[in-house]
C-alpha cells in the first residue's frame, strides 16, 4: 500500500502540489488524471524520490522511500529515457544491475522481460534503430527488470501506434493479474477508465476527488441522450434535464434517461418530426471530471 499524506511542493513561488493525500491499495491499478501542469509528474517524481525536497510524507508499506524501498518500485518515465547507442539487451542489463539483479538471474530476467515487451527478436539491435512504440515498450521493460511490487507509469502511451498501445495495455493487465500495484498517470481518460480500478483527479496542483471509478461514475456522472433531428425544440428537451448543443445535435443530461427517451420518441412521432439519430450515452470518466472542474481535460 502506498500512502501519500498531505504532500506539498513549491517551485520557487509556484505551488506545484497543494496538500495532496491519496492512499493506493496494494494489487490495484490506480489512475492519476489531470490536464498538463496538474501536478501528476511532480507527484510521481516525489513517489520515486527523484524529488526529495517536499512537505508531507510518502510511505510504501508503512516505510519511507529509501534506497532499500526503491528496490520495490519500478518507474516508467514520461519521456523515453534509454541509452540509444547500445542494444535493448544492454539497456535491460544496465537497469537490472542498478537494482542488484546479477549473474544467471539477470540473464534469465532479461529473457523474460524481452518476451513480455515483445522484443526478443530485436534484443541485439541498437535502440536508435527502434520505432517509437518499441522504445516505449523497452522503456517499460527497464522498469520491470527487478520485478517490482509497485510500478509507476507516467503517460506510457504518449505518441505510439495502436499496436504498441494494445501491447502495453496487455502488459498492464498481466501485471494486475500478477498482483502488482500499478500507478497509471495519463490524460487519456478512456485509458484510465479501461485499465484502472481507482482514480485521483488532479487539477492545478490540488486533488479534487478520488476513489473507485465505479463509485465516482455513480456519484457524479449523469447518463445522457444524444439527439439529432430536425425541428425538435430545445425547450421540449429541457423538460427532462440539462441540455447542451454539440455540432447540430442536443445532449440531454438526465437521471431518467430511458423514460426521457420514450417521451421524446412519442413526441416526435406525434408531431411528425424527423429523428436522424438518438442514442443513450453511458456516463464516462470524462463527464465526472467535467462535473468536478467545469472544464474538459483537453481544454
Amino acid at each position: 500500500m502506498l500512502t501519500i499524506n498531505n504532500v506539498t511542493k513549491h517551485y520557487d513561488k509556484t505551488e506545484a502540489l497543494k496538500g495532496v493525500s491519496i492512499t493506493i491499495p496494494g494489487g490495484t491499478c490506480y489512475g492519476l488524471v489531470g490536464p498538463n501542469g496538474a501536478g501528476k509528474s511532480t507527484l510521481i517524481k516525489m513517489i520515486t524520490s527523484i524529488i526529495r525536497d517536499y512537505e508531507g510524507k510518502i510511505e510504501f508499506n508503512e516505510k519511507r522511500i529509501t534506497d532499500k524501498t526503491k528496490q520495490k518500485l519500478g518507474y516508467v518515465p514520461q519521456d523515453i529515457i534509454l541509452e540509444e547507442d547500445i542494444s535493448a539487451f544492454s539497456n535491460l542489463q544496465l537497469f537490472g544491475r542498478l537494482y542488484n539483479v546479477k549473474g544467471n538471474s539477470l540473464n534469465q530476467r532479461i529473457k523474460e522481460v524481452l518476451a513480455l515487451i515483445g522484443l526478443s527478436e530485436r534484443s541485439k539491435d541498437k535502440v536508435s534503430a527502434f520505432s517509437g512504440g518499441m522504445k516505449r515498450r523497452l522503456n517499460i521493460g527497464c522498469a520491470l527488470m527487478h520485478n517490482p511490487d509497485l510500478i509507476i507509469m507516467d503517460e506510457p502511451t504518449v505518441g505510439i501506434d495502436p499496436q504498441s498501445r494494445k501491447y502495453i495495455f496487455k502488459m498492464i493487465e498481466d501485471l494486475k493479474t500478477a498482483g502488482k500495484t500499478v500507478i497509471y498517470a495519463s490524460h487519456y481518460m478512456e485509458e484510465v477508465e479501461k485499465l484502472c480500478d481507482y482514480v485521483a483527479f488532479l487539477d492545478r496542483g490540488e486533488m479534487i476527488e478520488n476513489g473507485a471509478i465505479s463509485e465516482l461514475l455513480q456519484q457524479y456522472a449523469v447518463p445522457s441522450i444524444y439527439v439529432k433531428g430536425s425541428g425538435i425544440p430545445q425547450d421540449k428537451l429541457e423538460q427532462y434535464g440539462t441540455v447542451s448543443q454539440e455540432e447540430g445535435a442536443f445532449i440531454l443530461y438526465t437521471e431518467e434517461a430511458l423514460a426521457a427517451m420514450e417521451h421524446i420518441i412519442s413526441y416526435c412521432r406525434e408531431n411528425r418530426l424527423d429523428v436522424e439519430r438518438m442514442e443513450l450515452v453511458h456516463p464516462r470518466l470524462e463527464d465526472v471530471f467535467f462535473r468536478l472542474t467545469g472544464s474538459n481535460l483537453r481544454d
Partner: protein, 248 residues
C-alpha cells in the same frame, strides 16, 4: 556503479568521434609537425625536436577528453537519464564515479598508445617508463577532474566545447607545447608555471631523457595533484546543483 561504468565503456568504444579526437588527430598532428620541424640535416637536433613534439602533443590532446565529458553529462541531464537514475537505488556519487572513471581509462590508454606510436615510428627514448606511467596517471587525474568540474558547471555543450578549446589550445601555446618556452616573452613564461600542461610536458621530457630528479618529480606531481584536487572539489560543490537542475 559498475553498471554505469560498463555501459559508458561500451559507448566510448563504439564512438568513432572519440577515437578521432583522442588518437587519430594527435597522431596526424605529430606526423605533420615533426615533418615540418625536422627538415634540417642535424640528426641530433631533429631527435631533440621529436623528443619535445611527441610529449607536447600528448599533453595537448589529452585535454580534448573534456569535450566528451561535457557532452556525456549535459546529454544525460537534458534527456532525463540523470533524473531517471535518481529513481533507482544507485547512490548519486556512484553515478558520478561511474561516469568519470571510464574517461580516466580512456586517457591512460590514449597516453600509452601515443607514446608507443612515438617509440615505434620515431624511436623516441622512454628512459624512465615507470616515471612516465606515474606522470601519466597524475595528468589523467588532473585533466579528467577539470573536465568533470566543467561538465557539472556549464549550461550547454557549446559552452563546454568553447572552454575546452581555450584550455587545450591556449594552455598548449602558453606552456611551450608548440614552440620552446625560451622563445616566448618572459610574462608568458611566468604564466606557464601556473598551467598543468607546462609541468606535465617538462616532466615527460625529463623522464623520456632519463634525467628525472626526485624533488622535481615530486614538485610536478604535487602541482598536478593540487590542480586536479581543486577541480575535483569544484565538481563536488557543483554536483548538487547539477542534480537539482536535472530533476526539474
Amino acid at each position: 556503479m559498475n553498471a554505469i561504468m560498463i555501459v559508458e565503456l561500451k559507448k566510448h568504444l563504439q564512438d568513432k568521434g572519440l577515437a578521432f579526437w583522442m588518437l587519430i588527430l594527435p597522431i596526424l598532428f605529430t606526423i605533420l609537425f615533426i615533418s615540418v620541424f625536422t627538415t634540417g640535416d642535424n640528426e641530433a637536433v631533429n631527435q631533440e625536436i621529436i623528443q619535445s613534439i611527441v610529449p607536447g602533443y600528448i599533453v595537448m590532446f589529452v585535454f580534448f577528453i573534456m569535450i566528451s565529458m561535457v557532452q556525456v553529462f549535459i546529454k544525460d541531464r537534458n534527456k532525463g537519464m540523470t533524473a531517471r537514475l535518481a529513481s533507482t537505488p544507485l547512490k548519486s556519487y556512484y553515478y558520478l564515479l561511474g561516469k568519470w572513471l571510464p574517461f580516466t581509462f580512456i586517457v591512460i590508454i590514449q597516453i600509452v598508445v601515443l607514446f608507443l606510436f612515438g617509440k615505434v615510428v620515431y624511436d623516441v627514448s622512454l628512459g624512465q617508463p615507470i616515471i612516465l606511467l606515474i606522470l601519466s596517471l597524475f595528468i589523467t587525474f588532473t585533466v579528467t577532474a577539470i573536465g568533470l568540474a566543467m561538465a557539472l558547471t556549464v549550461n550547454t555543450e557549446n559552452m563546454g566545447i568553447a572552454i575546452t578549446q581555450i584550455i587545450a589550445l591556449g594552455g598548449a601555446m602558453l606552456s611551450g607545447l608548440w614552440m620552446p618556452l625560451e622563445m616566448m616573452p618572459v610574462f608568458m613564461q611566468t604564466i606557464a608555471h601556473f598551467l598543468p600542461q607546462y609541468w606535465a610536458h617538462q616532466s615527460f621530457q625529463d623522464a623520456m631523457a632519463g634525467t628525472t630528479q626526485v624533488p622535481e618529480l615530486l614538485q610536478t606531481l604535487g602541482v598536478l595533484f593540487a590542480i586536479g584536487a581543486a577541480a575535483f572539489i569544484i565538481a563536488i560543490i557543483r554536483y548538487p546543483y547539477f542534480l537539482k537542475r536535472a530533476v526539474k
